[in-house]
Structures are given as structure tokens and as C-alpha cells.
């Protein structure tokens, strides 16, 4: 068979045989048979775009579930969900395991179902405990926690809190009262004084669904497109926003699979041009252990509190409680020295390793850019001129562009496999894998990587050929080569992912290195809500 000759030059057999019959004639009409592990292709979309207009609708479902189960008012359900980061299952779990009271108390929800209070008789004067003035009851507002203050003091207080960015968790003004104020009352009071700010408040409350929610994230496009993306099940995936921005959902960085987010982060710190920013961030900030927002300490002691309310230790970054006692250290021993599992590497050798991997990574990324800016229009030209030739028997030229897209997808995979290899076969897992084991795995991995790389270069070479001017038989031959090579690279990408996932990452004890699943069709486009 001719195909054997195309790739199997000399003794290097870089692709798996057996494509001869399957893909010979009708690649375009019959895309590759979907294998079982490629679930995302046939199923309902696993990510959605949330636009400004659909934000309210997006959270309605979650709110309604909580409202129905606990028979609450909507604003109470929202307070609960804001506190529990929109994790409905967690709300239900706490409800079942620890009871309603505990669930509400932690989130600052107070349910008062008292009858008319004597104080609400408008003729009675009450003293506001903030400004110490007397007011008729009608000029005061009572919160659900039974604390009453004058409307002016409430309003001023709300304005300060909203401007401080604390709209989502405005507690009652009374000392040590942790009840979250009724958003309706806040809205009414603030609207009377400053309608624009009330508008902002509404937005902040709504946007909690994005900012405090593990399953929803803002699109990282710059300038910002205004959209957010919600994933339905797996956070470790790569998505494309409606604005066209492609990113890793978990870490919001550019596409980096099959390199894990942690590795990518380390890689950027080593190689990124914006190193000063990254250094500044890593020196001056820490991630909140609850909501993972970046926190900067602006003074005071080392017990810091994130805007979400979570206290944590600035020294070790671990979550702590707010309560302290005379001499007990509540679960807090960060002063004790733990041997770091990341030993500092011999810097000279590390430098050469890094250079090796970085050069190859960079070469592929550069090729990717050049191919996108220069080869793509050339291929389009060729397709156009071919379509113009009416005497050809072949009418469908979509294989050229399919080949080009396959090339771009595979290039990214092979490029990102270098930062992966740099970290995996470096000292990142030194205490988990023995040197010997590492050597075996490295051979296995590099074999796969090399096969992929070789086929990618061949695909690239054939796509560069001036096939528009070829006679028909030679054109058919080139077409065949491109189609087969596309299939082979796709398959090799899948295999590389499998190798990384099941042979290299799964055996590890550290579970933080999850990678997005391989999708033959490329990054999933988020569908409309």
C-alpha cells in the first residue's frame, strides 16, 4: 500500500498502521469514529456563556432549588448561596448533617417571624444607638435580627460598605451581630440617597454568582468582553468564550494542556517576560484558602481575613479560626519547620534543563504563530484557485483546511508537552518517583512525543506544498497524505494525553495535577444559556 511508503521511510515507523482501509476515501464525510472516552462530543454542552443579560436567569435555577427545599425567601437563599459559594449540594449537605439552625447561623441568616412589634407604632420615639438621636419609629428600620437604627445611619453605613466592596456580606450594625442585612431594605434605603450606588449594589449582588462560584468564571479577555463562563461538570477543561478567547477554565491562563495548571504556573514564573509582576504577586500576596482570590496584606498582624470572610494565617496561608484563647493554638503550628519537598535544584544544571525545554517549547509556539499568520492565507489561496478549476473531478477541498486546523491543534499539544516534561522529569515529584522509574517513564513519554513531533512536521511540510498547481493524480496523492497525517497526529495527541494521564499522573499521590481531557475537535465553544 502506498501509505506505508509515505511515512515509513527507512525504519522509522512513527504512526500506527491500519489506517489504510478506514480513511482512504471518505475522511471528510465520516469523521473519526467517536471513542468512548471522548464523551464531550456527543453530549449536551458542558460549558455556557453567561452574558450581562442572562446573569439573573443563570442563578435563578440554583436559587429556586434552595428556596423550594428550605422554603425560604429569595434573598435568604441568596445570602446562603453567597456564603456557601453557590454550592447547592453543600448547602443541602450541611442542612442534612448539621441542621437548619447551624446552616443559617453560619451564613448570617436570621429568620424572624414575629408579629407586629410595639415599636413599629409610628407615634413612639426610639433612640438610634448610633447617632443617639430620637426618631419616630417610621424613620427607623428594623432588621431581621431585631436591631433597629435610624434610616440615616443605616444609609450611611450601607454606602460605606458598598464602596468598600463588601456588598455581598453587609452585616447588621449592632455589636457582634453577624446577621446579613436584607438586600431589599438596603436597596430601598440606598436608592433614596444615591440611585447610582444602588444600581452598583444590585450589580455586585448579582455578580456574586460569578465571583464566588467555583463553576463560573469571568472570561479573561482583555479588554474584557463582559461575559462569564459556566462549566457544568469538570473544572479542568479548556473553553472558548463567545468573544473568541480560548483559555483554561481552571487557572484562566492560556491553553496549556497537557501541562497541568500547577506546572504551567511554575513554568510562567520561570519563563514569562512579565516576571516582575509575577514576582511581585508571589512576594506580596497570598491566595485565600477558601475562595482562592488573591489577598494583599496591608498592615496589622499575621491573622488576616479575606474579603469573603475567611481568616487565615499570613505566614503559612492555612485557614484558621477567628477565635483565640489565652494559651491554646487552635490548629495552628505553622512555626514548626516542615522539610520542604521541593529541594532547591542545582541552579546551573537546572538552567541548562530549562533552556533545553524552553527552546523546544518556544520553537513550536513560534511555528504556530507563523502558520496562523502566513500559512493559513496561503492555504486559503490554494483552495480558492483549486475551486476555480472546473475541470477537476475533485470538488471538495475542505481537507486542506481540516489539515491546517489539525496542525495548529497538535502543535499546541506538542509545545505544551515540553513544560510538562520539564517539571515532571525534574524534581517536582522527586520524593514520589524513584530515579529509575523516572528514567523508564521518560523514555516512554519521549517516544510518544517524538512520534507526534515527526508527524506534525510532515503534515506541515505537505500543507506547504504548492498542490494547487499539481496535476490531478499528484493532487490526489497530496490530499491523501494530508488526510492520513491529520488522522495520525490526532491519534498520537490522544495517545500522548493518555500516556501523561494514566501512566504518569494517575500513579502520583499528589492529586493537584489534573489535566483537561483531549478533544479531537479542539477547544469547546461555550454555548448560549
Amino acid at each position: 500500500m502506498a501509505i506505508e511508503d509515505m511515512y515509513g521511510r527507512s525504519d522509522e515507523e512513527y504512526y500506527n498502521g491500519g489506517y489504510d482501509d478506514e480513511y482512504e476515501d471518505d475522511y471528510d464525510h465520516d469523521p473519526e469514529p467517536e471513542s468512548d472516552d471522548d464523551l464531550s462530543c456527543g453530549k449536551a454542552p458542558s460549558c455556557r456563556v453567561i452574558r450581562k443579560e442572562s446573569l439573573l436567569a443563570a442563578q435563578k435555577e440554583d436559587l429556586q432549588r434552595v428556596v423550594d427545599l428550605l422554603s425560604l425567601k429569595v434573598h435568604h437563599a441568596r445570602t446562603l448561596l453567597i456564603h456557601y459559594q453557590w454550592d447547592v449540594d453543600k448547602v443541602f449537605a450541611i442542612f442534612v448533617e448539621r441542621g437548619k439552625e447551624k446552616l443559617y447561623a453560619e451564613a448570617g441568616v436570621t429568620l424572624e417571624e414575629k408579629a407586629e412589634k410595639p415599636a413599629s407604632d409610628p407615634s413612639i420615639e426610639v433612640t438610634c444607638e448610633i447617632c443617639f438621636e430620637d426618631f419616630p419609629a417610621e424613620q427607623t428600620t428594623l432588621m431581621e435580627c431585631d436591631h433597629r437604627f435610624c434610616n440615616d445611619c443605616w444609609t450611611e453605613y450601607f454606602i460605606v460598605k458598598i464602596n468598600d466592596g463588601k456588598s455581598r456580606r453587609i452585616t447588621c450594625m449592632a455589636q457582634k451581630c453577624k446577621t446579613i442585612c436584607d438586600e431589599g431594605k438596603i436597596r430601598d434605603l440606598v436608592t433614596a440617597k444615591d440611585p447610582n450606588l444602588a444600581e452598583k449594589f444590585n450589580r455586585f449582588i448579582l455578580e456574586s454568582y460569578i465571583e464566588d462560584n467555583k463553576r463560573v468564571k469571568w472570561c479573561p479577555s482583555v479588554p474584557h468582553c463582559g461575559n462569564a463562563i459556566r462549566v457544568e461538570d469538570d473544572e479542568y477543561c479548556e473553553v472558548e468564550c463567545a468573544c473568541g478567547k480560548q483559555f483554561c477554565f481552571n487557572c484562566l491562563c492560556e491553553l496549556h494542556a497537557p501541562c497541568s495548571c500547577v506546572m504551567w504556573d511554575l513554568w510562567l514564573k520561570k519563563c514569562d517576560d512579565e516576571a516582575p509582576t509575577v514576582t511581585w504577586l508571589s512576594e506580596k500576596t497570598k491566595h485565600c484558602p477558601k475562595c482562592h482570590k488573591i489577598v494583599e496584606k496591608d498592615g496589622g498582624c499575621n491573622l488576616v481575613q479575606c474579603i469573603c470572610g475567611q481568616p487565615f494565617c499570613w505566614l503559612c496561608g492555612e485557614a484558621t479560626g477567628l477565635e483565640h484563647t489565652w494559651n491554646s493554638i487552635s490548629g495552628h503550628t505553622c512555626g514548626r519547620y516542615k522539610e520542604s519537598h521541593l529541594k532547591s535544584e542545582d541552579s546551573v544544571e537546572d538552567y541548562w534543563r530549562l533552556t533545553h525545554y524552553y527552546r523546544r517549547y518556544k520553537a513550536h509556539i513560534d511555528s504556530l504563530k507563523i502558520e496562523a499568520s502566513e500559512s493559513k492565507p496561503k492555504i486559503l489561496d490554494k483552495v480558492c484557485s483549486l475551486e476555480a478549476k472546473e475541470f477537476l473531478q475533485l470538488k471538495d477541498f475542505s481537507w486542506a483546511m481540516s489539515g491546517f486546523y489539525r496542525l495548529a491543534l497538535s502543535r499546541r499539544v506538542v509545545a505544551n508537552s515540553y513544560p510538562f516534561a520539564y517539571h515532571y522529569f525534574g524534581d517536582l515529584f522527586a520524593n514520589e518517583i524513584t530515579k529509575e522509574e523516572r528514567g523508564i517513564k521518560q523514555n516512554l513519554f519521549e517516544d510518544q512525543q517524538q512520534q507526534l513531533e515527526t508527524n506534525i512536521e510532515r503534515l506541515s511540510m505537505f500543507l506547504e506544498e504548492p498542490f494547487a498547481n499539481y496535476p490531478e493524480d499528484k493532487l490526489m496523492e497530496t490530499r491523501m497524505k494530508i488526510i492520513t497525517l491529520s488522522t495520525v497526529t490526532d491519534d498520537l495527541c490522544k495517545k500522548l494525553y493518555e500516556c501523561i494521564d494514566s501512566d504518569l499522573l494517575v500513579p502520583l499521590q499528589q492529586t493537584t495535577h489534573t489535566i483537561a481531557r483531549y478533544r479531537s475537535k479542539g477547544v469547546e465553544k461555550a454555548s448560549e444559556l
Binding site: 450611611e156 455589636q175 498582624c301 491573622l303 483565640h324 494559651n327 493554638i329
Partner: protein
């Protein structure tokens, strides 16, 4: 600004009226500036601060009572949550747990409570915090006692 002034004025009147209500706290407003106050507080009994009189300086922001006052010790004190050099106090109600319902008087009471119940896990004075964290209560108490004697007690004779 008007609101803060009015409220401080009310607090001033309240302090004048209840001068004898709390013998441990003596709050005085600056003659010319209602945003500057000082307080003399007595060290709580059964603590190493017993018998000492500590001076606090209050600096009240214009957004008071929506923003907390800045308070620091003018008298030197050996305490995990007080900066040994500047007198800065690390107390939740003076930072993120502030509520407008606190008054200068009740802040003083909270500071007295902090003197009796230090929080060694969030130390501004690490030496003091470490003594407590390592369980050396006696070492801590004798240091605190010494500084109380040196700085917070009237010299005899």
C-alpha cells in the same frame, strides 16, 4: 463630617454624665479638637497589668462612627497584640469587625478585655506571643509585670 462631630459631642456629654459609672476608664477629649481623645485605663486585676495605669491615644476619622477610631497605647506595655515600639493595637473590632454601635467608651472596655485575654496567635509583639505560645506563662507574666512597674505605675517618693 457633621455626623461624626454630632456623635462625638453626644459621646462627650455621655462621658461627662457617667464619669463615675466606670472607675477603670477615664476618657478625656482634647480641648481644641473633638477628633483627638485620650484615655487612662486601669490594668485589669489578676493580670500582670494590675495596678498600672495605661494611657491610650484616640484619633477619630471624619467618617466615624462608620470607620473605627485609631487607637494606640502611649504607655509602654508588654502584650502580644500591642506593638512594643509604636503602641499599635491588633484588635478585630478596631479593624474588620468594627461596628458603628461601638463607642469610644466601649472600645476602652474591649481593650481592657484584650489585656486580660491576649491572642498569641496574631502577635504584633512576637517575643511576647512566643512566650505564651510556648507555654511559658511565668516568663510572660514576669516580663509584662516588669514593664507595668517600669512604665505604668506612678513613681514613689
Amino acid at each position: 463630617m457633621q455626623a461624626s462631630r454630632a456623635r462625638l459631642f453626644k459621646e462627650y456629654k455621655e462621658v461627662q454624665r457617667e464619669k463615675t459609672a466606670d472607675p477603670d476608664i477615664q476618657l478625656v477629649c482634647d480641648d481644641s479638637n473633638i477628633f483627638k481623645w485620650t484615655a487612662l485605663i486601669k490594668g485589669p486585676s489578676e493580670t500582670p497589668y494590675d495596678g498600672g495605669v495605661f494611657q491610650l491615644a484616640f484619633s477619630v476619622p471624619e467618617q466615624y462612627p462608620l470607620q473605627p477610631p485609631q487607637v494606640r497605647f502611649l504607655t509602654k506595655i508588654f502584650h502580644p497584640n500591642v506593638h512594643f515600639k509604636t503602641g499599635e493595637i491588633c484588635l478585630d473590632i478596631l479593624k474588620n469587625a468594627w461596628s458603628p454601635a461601638w463607642t469610644l467608651q466601649s472600645v476602652c472596655r474591649a481593650i481592657i478585655a484584650l489585656m486580660a485575654h491576649p491572642e498569641p496567635d496574631s502577635p504584633l509583639n512576637c517575643d511576647s506571643g512566643n512566650l505564651l505560645r510556648s507555654g511559658d506563662i511565668r516568663g510572660f507574666q514576669s516580663m509584662a509585670r516588669m514593664y507595668t512597674r517600669l512604665a505604668a505605675m506612678p513613681k514613689k517618693g
